[in-house]
Amino acid sequence: MIIKDEDQLVIERVLAGDAKAFEMLVKKYQKKIYFLAMRMTRNHDVADELAQESFVRAYMSLASFQQGRNFYTWLYRIAVNQILNYLKHKSFTVSLDTPSGQTFLEQIPTSPDQLSRLMNNEQMQIFQIALEKLPPTQKTIFMLKTYEEFSYDEISKIMGCSVGTVMSRLFRARARLKNALLESEKKKNGKLQE
């Protein structure tokens, strides 16, 4: 877990004029911020831009960072705001391509193993589509919990809402994802029966 003291020491050095020290914080959290942006936007270039901008904004706002606070969640909050602003102004379509670029839905299984793989990949696609369709705040909370394993309290600070709201939105996000998977399974079962 994050050692608050280390981050605070670096911040103090940066505020004292050692801008190069900020690079230490960048290196420490660059992957997490990048992946958050990547999962939300599904575009490497956009994620790269958003991640960089998040760090720049964090640097510019470092003077207002209060001692004793968790720099990690504070940085995440900046990144989440950047991403949500981007999503708000940019409509994007859900790609049916898997990360490898293949569309498995068109592949016809010829063996149980292939069928099983197809169903798994199809499930993944359906999951990805359903994830993309989530409202941005629900999606963000789901990702912060699932990938970063933040506590509800940390998520509430990042999102600027109450713990109860975090619980509620997370519950709804999971319900939507679950329903999307159930519906696709029902359709598939219906087709198989035919």
Binding site: A19, Q30, A51, V56, M60, F127, Q128, L131, K145, M167
Partner: protein, 331 residues
């Protein structure tokens, strides 16, 4: 069949928010709905990790931090004042102190800018008569009996004498220049101001003088017929105002006389001279009337105001006034 009320706890339980919760573990084993929810949450987490994006190449990470630092260095530095501003807003305590001050300052500015100017005190108006350089070009106006009577009425009732000698200085300051030009200026007549003060005092004290004023008006009109249609509404347009001014000026008396007459009789202040006031660059003293007042002829309170001629004169407030020139009658 209702949903199990514990279903909502499954997610927080798996997320580690509830800590040790044996009763819930036992419940999950017994409740099919909660068990399905338990499996669903786990399955979603599994799918999420499987569907995650592969990381970029390692070289990307090596350059990322360098690019961020370069980007920071390339940003224009905020100005000193912007930094101070940011620091204030970053500091909640400072913000709590500064915000009320800002609100008070804005309120004071708004009050000063948008409240209508209060009525000038007579003494203040009188003290500003230093700007009274005016040269008119009206033709000399012969003194009439009415002028004498105006002078007589200028005296407050308790000081009024039977003499018809005009008040000193009243007539003598009537401009004697020629015809009207576009840029006429009007003198501030100290005597007229005094008379106005007395008049106001008289009106406040009693209405005893109203009868006299009314008689005066009748006499005035009787001796000064004006060839315009009676009760002519001069409308609101610039041309109408000018027309009325020309009517009164050419056919009756000069503007100073009209002003004095207004002051003394408390008549409708939106008579012709106001159109002249637009051209006037001097300052003068005349009754002021609010646009929401009733039409002339009714009991219309008035108050002494300070009207400024020239381009700054605001005609808008008179735009819905309908002039009834009861003083202009056809004999």
């Amino acid at each position: 069949m209702g949903s199990c009320k514990n279903k909502r706890l499954i997610g927080p339980f798996l997320d580690g928010q509830l800590g040790e919760c044996k009763w819930l573990e036992e419940h999950i084993a017994e409740c099919s709905e909660c068990l399905a929810e338990y499996e669903s949450v786990q399955r979603l987490a599994h799918l999420a990790h499987k569907a995650d994006f592969p990381p970029p190449e390692s070289s990307y990470w090596k350059k990322f931090s360098t690019r961020v630092i370069a980007r920071i260095a390339a940003r224009p530095q905020p100005s000193r004042y912007a930094r101070i501003f940011d620091n204030i807003f970053a500091n909640k305590l400072a913000l709590r102190l500064v915000t009320p001050l800002l609100i008070v300052m804005i309120a004071v500015l708004a009050i000063r800018l948008y409240l209508p100017a209060k009525d000038m005190r007579l003494s203040q108006a009188a003290s500003q008569t230093a700007d009274n350089n005016i040269s008119t070009q009206n033709e000399p106006v012969p003194l009439t009996d009415i002028s004498l009577k105006l002078g007589a009425l200028a005296e407050p009732p308790n000081k009024q004498s039977s003499s018809l000698q005009p008040a000193a200085g009243l007539i003598s300051q009537v401009p004697k220049s020629a015809a009207e030009t576009q840029s006429q200026n009007y003198a501030i007549d100290n005597t007229a101001i005094e008379l106005a003060q007395n008049e106001m005092q008289t009106k406040n004290d009693s209405s005893a003088n109203i009868g006299n004023i009314d008689n005066l008006v009748q006499d005035f009109l009787a001796h000064n017929p004006i060839k315009t249609t009676q009760r002519k509404n001069y409308g609101l347009s610039k041309g109408s105002w000018r027309e009325m001014a020309l009517d009164l000026k050419l056919k009756a008396f000069n503007t100073d006389e009209i002003i004095k007459f207004q002051i003394l009789s408390g008549s409708n202040p939106s008579l012709a001279p106001l159109s002249s006031y637009r051209e006037a660059t001097g300052k003068f003293f005349a009754p002021q009337m609010s646009t929401s007042r009733p039409l002339f002829g009714q009991e219309t309170p008035y108050r002494w105001g300070y009207a400024v001629g020239g381009e700054n004169f605001n005609m808008d407030r008179l735009h819905h006034l309908e002039l009834e020139l009861d003083l202009i009658r056809e004999k």
